[in-house]
């Protein structure tokens, strides 16, 4: 009887949380024109072997009781539509031989991550890396891997992000990137960057979330002055990729998001 009560309570809580989460993304708000896709069709060339693969880093959520992967952890936000739509842009705009589908990478899966020297992580303001993941990520970055972080907002999520990142690099600061940083010029000159809002900001009268008023372009350098981690704080680039095909998402944000993503890849493949 006692067990049954616990099950019912848990189920109710889960339902309430799901509703609250969906409302946060605006899924149930009246007139909201964006609908998340869960069942993206697999492209015909998904099995092709290519030079580059869009790698999406998996991680356990912050304050997840047992630090297990949730059924749909924060790592998978915008997945896989953002990834695939971005890849289409990369294919069209550059000479990069890139796979049409993304690759979700689990740091606990041996040396798998080492095959993908460029990796994207969404919502690191919700991550909570284990010790072994911290170690693996540090090795990955020091050997030449590159990590792009995106879609975390405000001071609270920053603190959560830093709790894990400081364990990856206790001795390396996260610094603001100057305008002259090659990352912003390797292909496109990104002198006039601006905050890229997520769809939660629809109709985009306001472009920030929580207290993350200003977009922060930050990073962590290695000993040779090369960026290992590119930190996009207070912006939602993946949403811009994901909704670039929607007439309701402003083109100026989507264009900048593509340019940023492409520059970050080009930088990672040349530095």
């Amino acid at each position: 009887m006692h067990k049954r009560r616990i099950w019912i309570t848990g189920l109710l809580l889960a339902t309430l949380l799901g509703v609250a989460y969906a409302q946060r993304r605006g899924g149930f708000r009246g007139g909201f024109p964006f609908v998340e896709y869960e069942d993206q069709p697999t492209p015909a060339d998904a099995g092709d072997k290519t030079e580059f693969v869009f790698a999406r880093m998996m991680y356990p959520n912050w304050r997840s009781n047992d630090r297990m992967w949730s059924m749909r952890g924060a790592w998978s936000i915008d997945y896989p539509k953002a990834d695939r739509q971005f890849v289409q842009g990369v294919r069209r705009l550059t000479r990069l031989n890139i796979r049409s589908v993304e690759q979700a990478v689990n740091l606990d899966n041996g040396d798998e991550v080492m095959n993908y020297p460029w990796m994207y992580v969404v919502e690191p303001g919700h991550w909570d890396l284990t010790d072994s993941q911290v170690k693996k990520l540090r090795e990955y970055l020091l050997k030449g891997g590159f990590l792009m972080t995106d879609d975390f907002h405000g001071s609270f999520e920053w603190d959560v992000f830093m709790q894990s990142m400081q364990r990856v690099f206790p001795d390396r600061p996260v610094v603001d990137l100057p305008k002259t940083e090659p990352l912003f010029h390797v292909l496109y000159d990104l002198d006039d960057k601006f905050q890229i809002p997520g769809i939660v900001n629809y109709p985009f009268e306001q472009t920030y979330e929580y207290d993350g008023v200003n977009a922060n372009w930050r990073g962590i350098y290695d000993d040779h002055g090369r960026l290992m981690v590119a930190v996009c704080h207070n912006m939602d680039i993946a949403d811009a990729w994901e909704w670039a095909d929607s007439p309701h998402y402003p083109e100026r944000y989507a264009s900048l998001a593509y340019r940023i993503g492409i520059n970050y890849i080009m930088y990672a493949m040349s530095h």
């Binding site: 030079e51 705009l93 990069l96 020297p117 030449g144 891997g145 390797v186 292909l187 493949m269 530095h271």
Partner: protein, 750 residues
């Protein structure tokens, strides 16, 4: 025994001329011999037929009888030997004593110098004096006439035997010299007896008789035969010194081999000595260090009870160049290989990597350029732009991306400029990039086909070939065996391309082993003045990502392969000499190959060599154009003082300076004298044989004076020596007749 049978010494037969004294025509002799053989054959055939003997018996009898008849007919024609003989007391014999340091060596308790004196005093000199007048000379670093052969100091650290003999031949032109007697251990330090010396002696028909001193072979000795190091190297390069050594008496024992730069040990290894007399090659790896001249000394540690310690070390010079070669790397599309190659050589101070990355169809991202103008217009399209680099790497770039002019420029870059060109495997390279229909087809070390499916994103392991195992540029480990194993254990390549079969003359250093079998991976060849290579993959980056952070395999491989690419790229002036260390040799040949600004052959330039020697001495040598090789200029400098020399070659044309180059060399005295201290019998024998003399052992000199008598040199007369009365002839005839008799008896025909 010889003289008992043949009446005259062997030398009479060697030097004498056969003459038929009867004066009858030789054709009659031939006709008679022929007729006699025919008659004998008829006679024997009849007898044999009657007796019913087998043919073999008849033939044997015919042979014996014909031989006797032939011998008798030959004697009838009165054969004699005509031999030139020196007239008694009218000729001079030059006695040349080796006065160099090696003659003071004691072999088994007897000093070589003393043995030479003893040989003269034990009757040889008296016998010579009975027939000839004698003159004494001593030779060390120079020739000197002496009145008395006693009191030789044997202190000089050089034996220039060839120079001494040449001088005797020249200075005694007006004297009736009948022959030269050389008493020496043959340890010549001037490079041996050259053709010029032999010709000078031959033109005067001067026979040189030699008496050898010293042990011909040591029982216990370890000797460095040679040390081979690159004459030039880039700074901080990993180099190899190949030490060739021989030993006797220590087979299987351990020895320590060391390489020193001045006093600092830069390489060391324990070796196991090979079999007696066998040449053994060992390689010591070392770092060339910063720019400058390195004086390297390779030495094997002295062994217990070694007979000669003087040959355990050798010195060589390596000129470490200050130049920083620039390598242009063009990558046709973003690839991980590009990033990781750049990273691998980022800490490489001596090589500058300039890169072009085609990020989009119309955009090129440049890195490592010296200013905004460099490569602003894209890949070089002029000789001046192209030839400014010393190496070029072509990544995933299809042939059609380059204009015909650029393709021709790349070919000239290798052929004429002498640059290094490396092609990387990719989906747009080699066969897949249409290279077979381009200028690249000529310069590639492989025969690329037209099939466009040679590139596969398939993992592959790497294995060094035999050539690769010997190649120092592919050493990730110092030990060759461990290195080969290390290569096998490297993480798999991300992709692999079958480059096609290697061309004749190309060398395959490594193979890739993938699911579709074994294909050549790293292939190189020399083309014109330069070199080309193919690395059939774009996936070595996994060596960096899939190994521990501290592993430097990937960095080492790329740093070394890029050094290989440019280390041999010449400038407009390439100066050289025959060696870097001249031991007891003063003549230093100087050579320069000069090219114009477009690296065209320059036959009408002026080249001067400014030599700076020890203690600030200086000289200028004007080099002369080589009449056979256009663009090559040569000369010679006499480096009398031991020490280090620096030579700057300056090439110009019509007051315009075209380029400079510098070489270093070292002059050493006395080392050669203590190096080969065994008796060089081969040299003495060859000298005697080529001049008509003879090599003598000390204990066999009794007949030497008589031998000298038979000489064409000096004042001589011709002697006639009969041959008809030789006991050997009579014995031969008797043996032939006796043999026939015995055979007939055996066959029952007597």
């Amino acid at each position: 025994m010889f003289e008992l049978l043949f009446h005259h010494p062997l030398s009479v037969y060697r030097k004498g001329e056969l003459v038929w004294q009867s004066g009858w025509p030789l054709w009659i002799l031939a006709a008679l011999i022929f007729a006699g053989c025919v008659v004998t054959a008829l006679f024997v055939w009849r007898k044999t037929h009657e007796a019913g003997w087998p043919t073999l018996r008849g033939a044997t009898l015919w042979l014996l009888q014909s031989s006797v008849l032939t011998a008798l007919l030959l004697l009838l024609w009165q054969p004699v030997l005509s031999v030139a003989t020196l007239k008694p007391q009218q000729n001079v014999v030059a006695i040349l004593l080796d006065d160099s340091k090696s003659m003071a060596i004691s072999d088994d308790g007897s000093v070589r110098r003393d043995l030479a004196q003893k040989a003269l005093e034990s009757g040889l000199l008296d016998n010579l004096k009975k027939r000839f007048q004698v003159r004494f000379y001593k030779v060390s670093d120079h020739l000197e006439r002496i009145e008395d052969y006693h009191g030789l100091k044997t202190e000089k650290a050089a034996s220039r035997i060839a120079d001494g003999l040449k001088q005797i031949a020249a200075e005694t032109g007006s004297l009736p010299i009948g022959g030269v007697l050389l008493l020496s251990d043959g340890a010549d330090t001037s490079g041996g007896i050259d053709r010029e010396t032999v010709n000078a002696l031959k033109s005067r028909q001067l026979p040189v008789h030699t008496i050898g001193f010293g042990r011909e072979r040591y029982d216990r000795d370890v000797a460095l035969v040679d040390v081979q190091v690159p004459v030039r190297a880039l700074a901080d390069s990993r180099l190899g010194a190949q030490v060739i050594l021989k030993q006797r008496g220590y087979a299987g024992q351990k020895a320590t081999l060391q390489l020193k730069d001045a006093d600092k040990v830069i390489g060391s290894k324990q070796i196991t000595l090979a079999a007696d007399g066998a040449a053994q090659t060992e390689t010591l790896l070392f770092n060339s260090g910063p720019a400058g001249v390195r004086t390297l000394s390779a030495a094997v540690a002295n062994m217990q009870n070694e007979d000669n310690f003087g040959n355990n070390a050798l010195t060589r010079l390596v000129q470490v160049e200050a130049r920083k070669p620039r390598i242009l790397y063009i990558e046709g599309e973003p690839r991980w290989e590009f990033k990781f190659i750049r990273r691998a050589v980022e800490d490489e101070k001596t090589i500058q990597l300039v890169t072009m990355l085609r990020t989009t169809q119309n955009k090129i991202y440049r890195q490592g350029v010296k200013d905004a103008k460099e490569l602003e217009q894209g890949f070089p399209a002029t000789t001046e732009e192209m030839f400014a680099y010393e190496g070029v790497i072509i990544g995933a770039v299809e042939a059609s991306y380059f204009t015909p002019t650029q393709q021709a420029l790349l070919k000239a870059f290798v052929d004429r400029r002498g640059g290094g060109l490396l092609f990387l495997g990719s989906r747009a390279s080699l066969a897949d990039g249409g290279y077979s229909a381009s200028e690249f087809n000529d310069i590639l070390p492989v025969s690329v086909g037209d099939r466009r499916t040679t590139f596969l994103r398939e993992k592959a392991t790497v294995e060094l070939t035999a050539a690769g195992r010997d190649n120092l540029y592919l050493r990730l480990e110092e030990d060759a065996a461990r290195n080969a194993e290390r290569w096998k254990k490297l993480p798999e390549l991300a992709d692999v391309q079958n480059p096609g079969p290697p061309k004749p003359g190309a060398v395959v250093f490594a193979d890739a082993i993938s699911g579709r079998g074994r294909t050549p991976l790293l292939i190189t060849q020399n083309y014109g003045r330069g070199r080309t290579a193919v690395l059939g993959t774009g996936g070595t980056w996994r060596w960096q990502m899939l190994q521990p952070i501290e592993d430097k395999s990937h960095e080492m491989f790329w740093q070394q392969i890029l050094r290989w690419l440019v280390s041999g790229t010449p400038g407009t002036v390439v100066a050289s000499s025959t060696q870097s260390v001249f031991t007891d040799e003063t003549r230093v040949p100087l050579r320069a190959e000069v090219r114009g600004k477009q690296f065209e052959v320059l036959p009408d330039g002026q080249v001067e060599a400014r030599v700076t020697g020890p203690a600030g001495s200086a000289a200028t040598v004007l080099l002369q154009p080589d009449p056979v090789q256009p663009g090559v200029y040569s000369g010679e400098y006499a480096a009398e003082q031991p020490g280090s020399y620096l030579v700057e070659f300056i090439a110009s044309r019509a007051l315009e300076q075209l380029g400079t180059d510098t070489i270093a060399f070292r002059r050493e005295d006395g080392l050669a004298e203590s190096y080969h201290t065994e008796q060089n019998r081969e040299l003495l024998e060859r000298l005697s044989a080529e001049t008509g003399g003879k090599y003598w052992k000390i204990e066999e000199t009794k007949t030497l004076p008589e031998e000298i008598t038979f000489s064409e040199a000096g004042i001589n007369t011709r002697e006639i020596r009969d041959l008809w009365n030789l006991p050997a002839v009579f014995l031969l005839i008797a043996a032939l007749r006796g043999g026939e008799w015995l055979l007939r008896r055996k066959w029952g025909a007597v």
